[in-house]
C-alpha cells in the first residue's frame, strides 16, 4: 500500500484530503507544520507528498529541497503563474490550485505513483490469443508462437478489431508500411501460414474468412 504524506495546516482541507485518500486505498500520514513535516519525512518515508505552501514555522519552498527523491505535489491557493513556475523549477512535480476537484487530484497522484513501477508493455488479448506489441511476442492458449513481421502485423490488426470483419484491401493497406509489395496473392499465403502456426499452438481455428468481404477473429 502506497504511503502519502499530507503537509497542511488547514484542518478542514487536511481532513477532506485524508478522507479521500484513505478511501482511495492509500495509507495517509499527516503533518501540520514544517518542522513536523521534516520528522515525518525521516521516520516514515512516504511515496508521495501533498504539500500546502503556507505553513506555520516554515514556508513550503524551504521544505522542498528536503524532499529529494520523493515526488511533491503542491496544493496552494496561490494561482499566479510565477508561483507555479518557481515551485515547479524548485523541484515540485505538480501544482494544483485551490479550490480543486478531488477527482483530478487523485488522478494526478495516480500518475506520479504509476511512473515508478509498471514496465511498459502493450498487451492485446482476445479469447485464447495474447500479443505483446512491445516485445513482439505472441501466445495461443499460453503457448508461445514465432511469427514473421508480416504475420505479426496481420494478426495485430485483427486483434485490434476483434469480432469485426477486416477487408483484404484494408489489411493490405495497413501493412503496406511494413511490406509494400504485398498483393492479394501474397496475403493469402501469409494468412495460411499464420493459421497453421496458430493451430499448431492453440489447437483450433482463430481466423475466419467472411466470403467476399475479408477476415475476422473467431
Amino acid at each position: 500500500m502506497k504511503k502519502i504524506a499530507i503537509i497542511e495546516d488547514d484542518e478542514y482541507i487536511g481532513n477532506m484530503l485524508a478522507e479521500a485518500l484513505t478511501e482511495a486505498g492509500y495509507e495517509v500520514t499527516r503533518a501540520y507544520s514544517g518542522t513536523e513535516a521534516l520528522m515525518l519525512l525521516e521516520k516514515r518515508r512516504p511515496d508521495l507528498i501533498l504539500m500546502d505552501l503556507m505553513l506555520p514555522g516554515m514556508p513550503g519552498e524551504s521544505l522542498l529541497p528536503c524532499c529529494r527523491g520523493i515526488p511533491v505535489i503542491v496544493v496552494s491557493a496561490k494561482a499566479g503563474v510565477d508561483d507555479k513556475v518557481n515551485l515547479l523549477m524548485d523541484g515540485a512535480v505538480d501544482y494544483v490550485t485551490k479550490p480543486f476537484q478531488i477527482k483530478e487530484l487523485l488522478a494526478r497522484i495516480a500518475v506520479r505513483l504509476r511512473e515508478a513501477q509498471a514496465p511498459v508493455s502493450a498487451l492485446l488479448e482476445t479469447e485464447g490469443l495474447r500479443m505483446d506489441t512491445v516485445s513482439h511476442e505472441v501466445w495461443a492458449e499460453g503457448v508461445p508462437i514465432h511469427l514473421t513481421r508480416t504475420e505479426f502485423a496481420i494478426l495485430k490488426i485483427l486483434m485490434q478489431n476483434p469480432a469485426q470483419v477486416v477487408s483484404k484491401s484494408s489489411l493490405l493497406d495497413r501493412i503496406s508500411s511494413d511490406t509494400p509489395d504485398c498483393g492479394e496473392n501474397s496475403l493469402k499465403v501469409h494468412i495460411s501460414n499464420l493459421r497453421r502456426k496458430l493451430k499448431a499452438a492453440g489447437g483450433r481455428e482463430y481466423i475466419e474468412a467472411v466470403w467476399g468481404i475479408g477476415f475476422k477473429l473467431a
Copy 2:
C-alpha cells in the same frame, strides 16, 4: 538537445508553441494529424509529446496508447474534470487547458524532462546483466566486461527497455549524440562485438534479434 513533438492541427497555436519551444532550446518536430503523428513517433523518437485532443483523423485518446514510454502532456480546450481524469488515467502525464500561459507549460515540460533524465538509479539490472551508468562499468553474471563507448550506449538503451524491441533506426537515433556517423552497417558490427564480449563473460546469449524489427534483451 531534447526533442519535443507537437501534435496539433491548429496552425496558430502550433506555431506559437513551436516558436516558444525552439527559443527555449528544444528541437521541435510537428504533426498535424493522428496518422502523421504515428509516423513521427516511429521515425524520430521524441523525448516528450505535446498533444492536442481534437485531431483530424484520429482522436488523441486513441493515440495515447501508442506513445508508451514517452511522456505525453495533453493541451486541450476541454476543461472538464472528467476529461482530465480520463486522459491522465489513460497514460497522459499532465493536462494543461487552453488558454494557457506559455511560462507554465515550459515549466511543466521541464519537470517531465528532468524526471526522465535523472535515471531512477545509476544501476541498471536485468537478468544476469548489471550496469553502472555513472562509473561506466558492466558485469555479466558478476564478471566485469570492458565495453567501448558505442557498445556501452547500445547496451544501455537495451537495458533501459528490457524485453522491448528497439528498432535499428531508433537505436541509431538514440546513440547519435555519441557517434553521429554510425550507420546500419556499423551498428551490425557493434552488436556483433557486443555479443561476443557478453558471451565470453556470461556464457550465454543476451541480445536477441527480432527479424525485420530490431533487437531486444532476451
